[in-house]
């Protein structure tokens, strides 16, 4: 009698255990469906998002400089650093009796005054109107093999963009600057003088001032440019003294 009870109890326990174990393996009902299967995605910025009228910021920032001296004409390039000031080379602006700057869209700005750096091939032009497109100076110098871009007006002709890798610092073999200059493996020509050298973030890291007309371009370095802009009181006024023919 006792063994039967034990057997029955054991059977009951077994059945109960089996039932419980079976319950754990039972399929659960489906989770409720989400309200939507379409995830929210934000449109990624297009590579051409910076285009305005088909011109990239680098191109819109480029200014053409026309200089008239006592006995010659010259052209160069420049870029605006604020509403009324643009940077170019000293050898472009020096001795000018008249300087006119034009934007990528042909709009002209008359330069009212200019100053020249005493230590580097840099000049600061001041205009009466306001420039619509301004550059930003980079926080860091370029590193070797960084691809740098240059937008300017080679030979005083149409706007052109060129780019190439940063080669490194070198001595100024063209001018008389004490500071080292940048060498870039990019083709530029006379007329590109004063062009901004821009990194891949669109920030200015230097100012073109010389080239071998083939593939070596030389630029005033970022520290030298910043030093010039931070110490404009040390700059000299740009004056032309022409002899009268009469």
């Amino acid at each position: 009698m006792t063994s039967r009870r034990i057997g029955a109890a054991t059977l009951a326990v077994l059945i109960g255990s089996t039932a419980l174990a079976g319950c754990s393996a039972l399929p659960q009902g489906p989770d409720p469906l989400p309200s939507t299967f379409i995830p929210r995605v934000s449109a990624s910025a297009s590579a051409d998002a910076g285009l305005v009228g088909g011109f990239a910021a680098l191109e819109r920032d480029a200014l053409r400089v026309r200089v008239r001296t006592c006995d010659a004409y010259a052209t160069g390039s420049a870029f605006a650093i604020d509403a009324t000031h643009a940077v170019t080379n000293a050898h472009v602006a020096e001795g000018a009796t008249d300087i006119t700057v034009t934007g990528y869209d042909g709009k002209s700005y008359r330069v009212t005054s200019s100053v020249l750096s005493r230590e580097a091939d840099l000049a600061l032009l001041t205009i009466k109107d306001e420039f619509p497109n301004l550059v930003t100076l980079a926080e860091y110098e370029p590193t070797v093999d960084d691809v740098l871009s240059i937008a300017g007006y080679p030979r005083g002709e149409a706007l052109k963009v060129t780019s190439g890798p940063y080669v490194g610092e070198t001595e100024d073999t063209v001018g008389e600057a004490d500071d080292p200059v940048y060498q870039i493996d990019a083709e530029t020509h006379p007329g590109n003088s004063g062009s901004a050298v821009v990194n891949d973030e669109g920030d200015v890291v230097g100012v073109v001032y010389a080239s071998d007309d083939v593939h070596a371009t030389f630029a005033v370095s970022l520290p030298t440019l910043k030093n010039f802009l931070d110490n404009l009181d040390d700059a000299k006024r740009n004056r032309a003294e022409c002899e009268s023919q009469g």
């Binding site: 039972l26 379409i38 051409d48 005083g156």
Partner: protein, 223 residues
């Protein structure tokens, strides 16, 4: 009969049956040993005593059949309960599985419908995207052309500005040249006031200047 009915309870209760069996086995053993009538008689004369001895098991035997039947009934009840429980459990399980199945079927239908809608939307979106991409490509091409046009016009204007400035300067130079020549004529009209060498030097300077201006003018015109 009584002895035969004992084994179950006796077996269940313990060693007594063995003793009984031993006593019951004795006759065979005795028979094999041969005639010992007295002993047999003597043994058979004991039945009363034996019966007296066997009376005790009888009390047990008389009470045991009732629990056996009750136990059977209980077992049947337990079995019925277990079967019923199992049946209920299986029923509940079936109902649960059916519910889950129904939920999956319903959700599957909803998903299929949603997938169909999304597929239609995707197809429509792709078609629109392709159409828009075509428009974008065309627009970019037009933009490139417009950019080239603007660039060319800006350059033309800049070049024209350069030329205009040069022409203005040449015109100013020619005007200066004309003024200098008029000045020279005035000097010649009053030649008595000047030395011949100074007049020749002045004329040479003016001629050089005017030739320079004229050359610049020709260069502009030739360009």
């Amino acid at each position: 009969m009584t002895d035969e009915s004992q084994p179950d309870p006796v077996v269940a209760e313990g060693p007594k049956p063995d003793a009984v069996v031993a006593e019951e086995a004795q006759p065979d053993a005795m028979a094999a040993e041969g005639p010992k009538p007295d002993a047999v008689v003597a043994d058979e004369a004991q039945p009363d005593a034996m019966a007296a001895d066997e009376a005790q098991p009888e009390a047990v035997v008389a009470e045991e059949p009732k629990p056996a039947r009750a136990s059977g009934k209980k077992g049947l009840v337990v079995a019925l309960v277990l079967v019923s429980t199992l049946a209920l459990a299986l029923g509940a399980l079936s109902a649960y599985l059916w519910t889950v199945h129904s939920q999956y079927v319903a959700q599957n239908e909803a998903l299929r419908a949603e997938a169909g809608d999304l597929g239609a939307d995707v197809a429509e979106s792709r078609a629109k995207a392709e159409e828009l991409q075509t428009q974008v490509d065309e627009t970019l091409a037009q933009l490139d052309e417009a950019k080239e046009t603007i660039n060319g016009l800006a350059n033309s204007e800049a070049q024209a500005g350069d030329d205009r400035q040069a022409l203005i300067d040449v015109a100013d130079g020619l005007q200066e040249c004309a003024d200098l020549r008029q000045d020279m004529i005035d000097h010649l009209n009053e030649a008595y006031k000047w030395t011949a060498s100074s007049l020749r030097a002045r004329e040479a300077d003016i001629t050089t200047y005017c030739k320079k201006v004229t050359r610049a003018y020709k260069e502009i015109v030739d360009d």
